[in-house]
Symmetry: C2
Subunit: 237 residues, 2 copies
DNA sequence: CGTGCGTTTGACTCTTGTCAACTGCGGTGG
DNA sequence: CCACCGCAGTTGACAAGAGTCAAACGCACG
């Protein structure tokens, strides 16, 4: 593991304020692996044997039922996943797949549970990590229940624009079909959504999106701190 | 506070295994209040000054944006709410309103945060409470994104039937308009959903629902442990 | 017995999903 | 070097699901 990686890890809420010893014990027996794009890291309905931390690349969390599939979340560095399943020693509710080449740290689940009991500060960090993950998910639920597909797209664009420097343009960091699944719509509808937003200050060319009139788009999107925002925007890949 | 109430509280995961002293310190300065039906306990976007625990009655957690309103969750005894906002010392993402007369324990938020640092076992209990709340919410998100309104209704009926004794019938514990909002549909569509389910073994008369052919309904509902279930069914009011 | 409100029903509209054909770009191989 | 292929994305026509509006129903309450 590189020094730069340990730096990254210590930026996580998850490791905020934990004892140096706990940190080292967590890292020591863990695997740092590089995966090509498209690798399935884990499948829903399987036991959670590791806690995963994304150091580089993008990971898609998805779920399927009755033939349909949806994307729950897309994680960039530095984020962790299936923490709740690890703590409950339960099965995963989501599948994970790399969207780009990715470097991922895998910490054995039972080690996490051990350290939890031993280091009070670590447990505290876990509490805050879980609490914010919970709030993020509640927001996403509201996003789905209270807005139309095109509205979700508009708000996603605004968030992404901010995360990519706030200069009025952004690059969609993965295939549009995946963005569509994440937003809870079909690829066809996403395409129509972009057409509809051209009347609200959005121009698109391939994966390149220009927000020519951010005020107009904001008016349409009606963002709310009770639904959007809340977490730091996804860093660029 | 009655002895029966302290018994109830100790059944919560939230208080599982905590020191007797912590428990008493949490209860001592807290308010146990009775509210009539329809009382607004808190509104979204307000700071979370108390942790709420439902001892009797039903509480609706809802949220609105741009004139639309949706129901996120409906809680019976013994459940707690806005734990995540209390821990993060942040604003509420949901409003809370009693659906029936209710008895509710209110614990000051700063007291919760204090006890968290002092009692390791209490923190552990909080971790598990948060982890399961998180998983519940992920399941609800999947429920919304992967199923149609009528499918959500079918699965809700199956869960509710189990929670009410598993004898093939159930009583809807609140107004249908509220059930509709919880399921993410309009009251009109809920009504049509019930009509549609009459072809799948469901008969309804007012708030009384008879599941005459549970096999048929299950076939239609296609329940999955990765979406449904997971938590104990809502106790009867 | 009348009133009020939640619910139901019907007709209609709008949104979203589905299916199929077409476009355009990138990569392969002749 | 260029033709061809594959596949993501787009577009159009259609179907299905869900929301809207208005009227009628029915149960509870005064």
């Amino acid at each position: 593991m590189r020094a730069e990686d340990t730096e990254k890890l210590k930026c996580l809420n998850f490791f905020r304020g934990v004892k140096e010893n706990t940190f080292r014990r967590a890292i020591a027996p863990s695997f740092l692996q590089s995966f090509p794009a498209g690798t399935i890291l884990l499948e829903e309905n399987r036991p959670a044997d590791f806690l995963y931390i994304v150091l580089d690349g993008l990971v898609e969390m998805s779920s399927s039922a009755a033939g349909d599939e949806t994307v729950i979340e897309i994680l960039g560095p530095v984020n962790l996943f299936i923490l709740a399943a690890v703590l409950n020693n339960d099965i995963c509710l989501q599948s994970a797949r790399t969207l780009t080449p990715a470097r991922i740290l895998m910490i054995p689940a039972n080690l996490i549970r051990e350290l939890l009991s031993e280091d009070h500060d670590f447990m505290k960090a876990v509490v805050f990590e879980l609490a914010s993950a919970y709030r993020r998910t509640i927001k996403e639920l509201k996003n789905q229940k209270l807005r139309s597909g095109t509205e979700r797209l508009a708000n996603w664009l605004l968030r992404e624009e901010r995360g990519q420097g706030g200069e009025g343009r952004l690059t969609i960091p993965y295939e549009k079909r995946i963005l569509a699944a994440y937003l809870g719509m079909t690829a066809e509808n996403l395409s129509r959504g972009f057409s509809a937003l051209s009347a609200h200050g959005v121009q698109i060319k391939g994966l390149q999106v220009d927000i020519v009139d951010i005020g107009k788009l904001s008016d349409y999107a009606r963002s709310s701190p009770l639904i959007d925002d809340g977490e730091p925007p996804l860093p660029r890949n």
